[in-house]
Chain length 208, copies 2
DNA sequence: TAAAAAGTAAACTGATGGGTGTAGTTTAGC
DNA sequence: GCTAAACTACACCCATCAGTTTACTTTTTA
C-alpha cells in the first residue's frame, strides 16, 4: 500500500501541523498561561517529547503560531489610488477588504491569542499586533494619493485612516473579538461599510 | 502623640487599601497569571496571611479590584438631549467626557487588567468591560432623543453610537491601551473630537 | 534491508505558586 | 491594663507545569 490516507506529507510534517493546530486551538480557548504543553500534546495526539522536538519551548511554539497567522493575513494586496475610478467606489472596496479580514477566523484567532498574551508588554505587542497597522498603512497611502490628486481634503492622513478604521472596528471587529456576535450578518456589514464611507466622505470628500 | 501620620483610618483599613493598591499595580504591570500573592503581599508591605485575611482568594482579590475601579468610573452623569442647545455643541461636550474617561488612569487600569484576564471568557468580559457600554447607553439615548426631536437623522441608533465611539476610540483609546502614546496631547484630543463631531454630523445631522 | 531519523510512553526533576497552620507580637477598644 | 481582633514570620502542603531522561518502536531513506 502506497499510503493509508497520507495524501498530505511526511509524517513529520503532519505531526508539526497537528501541534500547531492544537496549540492554536488551546491558546485561543484558554489563553497562553492556562494552556499546558501536556494538554497541547494530548490534543495534537502526539507525544510530549515530539512537541519539544519541533519547538524548543512554549514561547517558541507561541511565536511560531503568531508568525504563521501573520503570514496568513500578510497576503493583502496593495491598494493604490486609481484616478479613473470614483473615490466612494474605491473606498468601499477597501472597506470590504478590511471587514473581511476582521471577520476572518484566522485574524480573529491571531488577535485573541496575541492580545491576551501581549497586552502587558507594549514592545512585543507592537511587533506582533503591529499587523493591525499594516493594512492601515495601505489606507494611509491611498488617502495621501487621493488627497494629492485633489479628490479628498484630509490634513492629517494618519488620523483620517485611523478614524475610518475606527468606524469599521467598533461595529464589526471588537464585538467579534469579545464574542458578542459570532459572525456579523451580511446586512450589518453592508450597513457599516455604507455609512462609514458616507461619513468619511461627508467630512473628507470633495463634492463630486 | 496622637498619631504619627495616620490621618487615614484604622490600621486594618490602611492594610486593606495597601493590598488593593499593590494588587492593582502588580496586575497592571504583569497580568493576573504572572502576579503571585507573595509578590502582592511584599509590595503591599503586608504579610501574606493578612492578604488572605482580607480576601478569600486571588480571584476574590481580583474581583474586588475590578469592582472598585468600576465604582470609580461609575459616577458618569446622565446626558439628556437639550432642545435649547445646538446639536454640535452637545455632541462635542459628550465627546469630551468620553475622551476624558478614556484617558483617565483609572479607566486605563481597569481595561488593561480586565482585558487580559477575561478576553477568553466573553461572559465575564461583558459584565466587566460592559462598563464601556454603560456610557454608550447614554449616547444612544441622546441620539434617540435628538432624532425624535427632528434634529438628527439616524436609523440605527446603536450603530450610530458605536460609530461615534469608534471614531474616538481608534485614535485615543486603543493607542493608549497599547502604550503607544502614554497620554495623547491636548492638540490630538482637540482634533479628534472636532473631526469626529464633524463626521458624525455630516452623516447624521440636519443642516442647521 | 539496515542504519538514521522521528515518534512514543511514562516516570522524573525542579521550580513556582495558591493557600493553610501555627505561634507569637501588635493594635484597638473598653 | 486587659482582652479580642488583627498582623507577622515562616514553615509547610499540594497541585501544576515546563522541560528532561530513558528505553523502546515506527518511519524514512539510501
Amino acid at each position: 500500500m502506497s499510503a493509508e490516507h497520507s495524501f498530505d506529507a511526511r509524517l513529520t510534517d503532519r505531526k508539526r501541523a497537528a501541534i500547531l493546530a492544537a496549540a492554536v486551538k488551546e491558546f485561543q480557548a484558554k489563553g497562553f498561561d492556562n494552556t499546558s504543553m501536556n494538554r497541547i500534546a494530548e490534543t495534537a495526539e502526539v507525544s510530549k517529547r515530539t512537541v519539544y522536538n519541533h519547538f524548543e519551548s512554549k514561547d517558541a511554539l507561541f511565536l511560531a503560531i503568531v508568525q504563521e497567522l501573520l503570514d496568513t493575513t500578510e497576503a493583502l494586496p496593495e491598494f493604490p489610488f486609481d484616478p479613473e475610478r470614483e473615490v466612494a467606489d474605491q473606498l468601499s472596496e477597501n472597506a470590504w477588504r478590511i471587514v473581511e479580514l476582521f471577520t476572518s477566523d484566522s485574524f480573529q484567532g491571531l488577535v485573541r491569542v496575541t492580545l491576551s498574551r501581549f497586552l502587558m508588554s507594549p514592545q512585543l505587542a507592537q511587533e506582533t499586533i503591529g499587523d493591525q497597522k499594516r493594512f492601515r498603512v495601505r489606507l494611509v497611502r491611498w488617502i495621501e494619493q487621493a488627497t494629492a490628486a485633489g479628490r479628498l481634503k484630509a490634513n492629517d492622513h494618519e488620523l483620517a485612516a485611523a478614524q475610518f478604521c475606527g468606524l469599521l472596528e467598533s461595529a464589526i471587529f471588537w464585538p467579534a473579538v469579545f464574542g458578542l456576535e459570532p459572525s456579523p450578518s451580511q446586512q450589518l456589514k453592508d450597513d457599516v461599510v455604507c455609512t462609514s464611507v458616507e461619513m468619511f466622505l461627508a467630512r473628507y470628500g470633495i463634492g463630486e
